[in-house]
């Protein structure tokens, strides 16, 4: 990991945390993800004003309000589009999209695929609890086919969306999975994801303790990968498609060229943009 070891880190959790108290349910995995994110940013010594956290809608997508970094709580499923525009206009910023399995893979499925394909230098962090938490427990694209719920008695019968394999096939340049109960492990994945050029996708298994209380036992189900990451998409694809969905670690570190054209914002002040829009 490229970093000269400092004697004392210049930043800590406190520098990234806002005064808004999370309204997540106590025990929610998203708390662990928030901790990991702050630890990763502190490790990278990124000043909060150089980081933009963009989200869609969902419990997971509330993170921008809870940080001191710049943030944008966007439209459901569309955070990658907002983040792409921002990164092209302000390439010097570290852009991180925080999303959920519903936000990123359901209503935002198309944006997810094309964000991977465009390979703009940013990181997508999906807190996957295999449920729509915010809207009270409906099955999401990653819910197991037989997950029995009030809205889908006996389960939906649909195969779960294989998000990591889809990301690989769509062109993402870094693909990893972590578990919110291991905040330091997730911090490490985020550091690597942020440092790696191009579009990085990190799925974090993050239990919804209210609507999927059985996910509290994920801590016993997750297991670290026993093999090194690869830059060979065929090897990564084989691993991902034969994986049980609970292996944590880095699956793919690619060297696909990232999209680097930037948007010239010099002639577009806010007034001009507003005038254009009024036409």
């Amino acid at each position: 990991m490229n970093k000269a070891e400092p004697l004392v880190s210049r930043y800590s959790h406190e520098d990234y945390k806002s005064t808004v108290k999370p309204i997540w349910c106590p025990g929610c995995g998203h708390f662990g993800v928030e901790t990991s994110l702050f630890r990763a940013l502190a490790y990278l010594e990124l000043p909060p004003e150089q980081v933009a956290i963009i989200s869609g809608i969902g419990c997971s997508s509330r993170i921008p309000a809870y940080t001191q970094c710049y943030g944008f709580h966007g439209v459901h499923g569309r955070a990658p589009a907002v983040a792409t525009g921002l990164k092209l206009a302000r390439p010097e910023l570290t852009v991180i999209v925080t999303s959920g399995d519903g936000d990123a893979f359901s209503i935002g499925g198309n944006h997810f695929i094309h964000a991977c394909r465009r390979n703009v230098d940013m990181t997508l962090l999906v807190m996957d609890n295999e449920v729509y938490g915010m809207t009270k427990g409906q099955p999401s694209p990653t819910s197991p086919a037989d997950w029995d719920s009030k809205i889908a008695p006996g389960g939906t019968g649909f195969s779960p969306f294989a998000s990591l394999a889809v990301a690989l096939a769509s062109g993402a340049n870094f693909i990893a999975r972590g578990f919110s109960g291991d905040p330091n492990g997730v911090a490490r994945l985020l550091v690597e994801a942020i440092q790696h050029p191009g579009f990085s996708f990190v799925q974090v298994l993050s239990p919804c303790v209210t609507y999927r209380p059985e996910e509290r036992f994920w801590k016993k189900t997750v297991h670290p990968s026993s093999v090194e990451s690869t830059n060979d998409p065929a090897v990564a694809g084989h691993r991902l498609l034969s994986d049980d969905g609970f292996t944590t670690g880095v699956f793919y570190v690619g060297n696909r060229p990232c999209y680097s054209a930037t948007v010239d914002t010099s002639n577009h002040d806010l007034r001009a943009i507003e005038e254009d829009l009024a036409l």
Binding site: P6, S12, G27, R216
Partner: protein
């Protein structure tokens, strides 16, 4: 796993991070309890944060300032999280004082075990001595917590059950 922390510097870095993360987690839990209208538990966690902050200050005193930090994943914890932090995922909106204090007690016991393990495996006498001191302090806290815990009745086995479904947050 046996802790092999060979220098006093490395030991103080671990002790500092352990206490600092405990403060961070207790503050977070206090906030969660405030949001969920549990002022008694919020106060309990704030009190714990203040106690652990004194330990942070003590380590800084011993180290002559803030000890060097390691990468989060380079600390030698036995579990995914540092021993004195209530693990992510153990909070609950129906938590009661008995349950909260049990979690706090478990933190003190894990911290004691961590320091005892460091002492047992240390070659450097300065590390061993410091680690034994820290272990003794954690043990003392654990004993006090047991007395505190005894004041509360043990909740029914299914204390988390809610006959009224959680309401939507928006």
């Amino acid at each position: 796993m046996n802790q092999t922390i060979s220098t006093l510097d490395a030991f103080l870095a671990h002790a500092h991070e352990l206490e600092r993360e405990a403060v961070e987690r207790y503050e977070d839990l206090a906030g969660q309890m405030e949001v969920h209208n549990k002022p008694e538990l919020a106060e309990l966690f704030r009190k714990m944060a203040a106690i652990e902050q004194q330990h942070v200050d003590k380590v800084e005193g011993l180290a002559g300032g803030e000890p060097r930090t390691l990468a989060p994943w380079d600390y030698q914890w036995q579990d995914p999280e540092s021993p004195e932090s209530i693990p992510v995922g153990q909070g609950h909106y129906r938590m009661n004082p008995y349950q909260a204090l049990s979690l706090v007690l478990a933190c003190e016991e894990r911290a004691e075990a961590f320091f005892a393990n460091v002492a047992e495996n240390a070659d450097d006498p300065a590390v061993r001595e410091s680690a034994l001191q820290f272990a003794a302090e954690e043990r003392e806290h654990a004993e006090l917590l047991k007395v505190w815990l005894a004041r509360y009745p043990e909740p029914k086995a299914e204390w988390w059950q809610d006959l009224d479904d959680p309401v939507s947050q928006e």
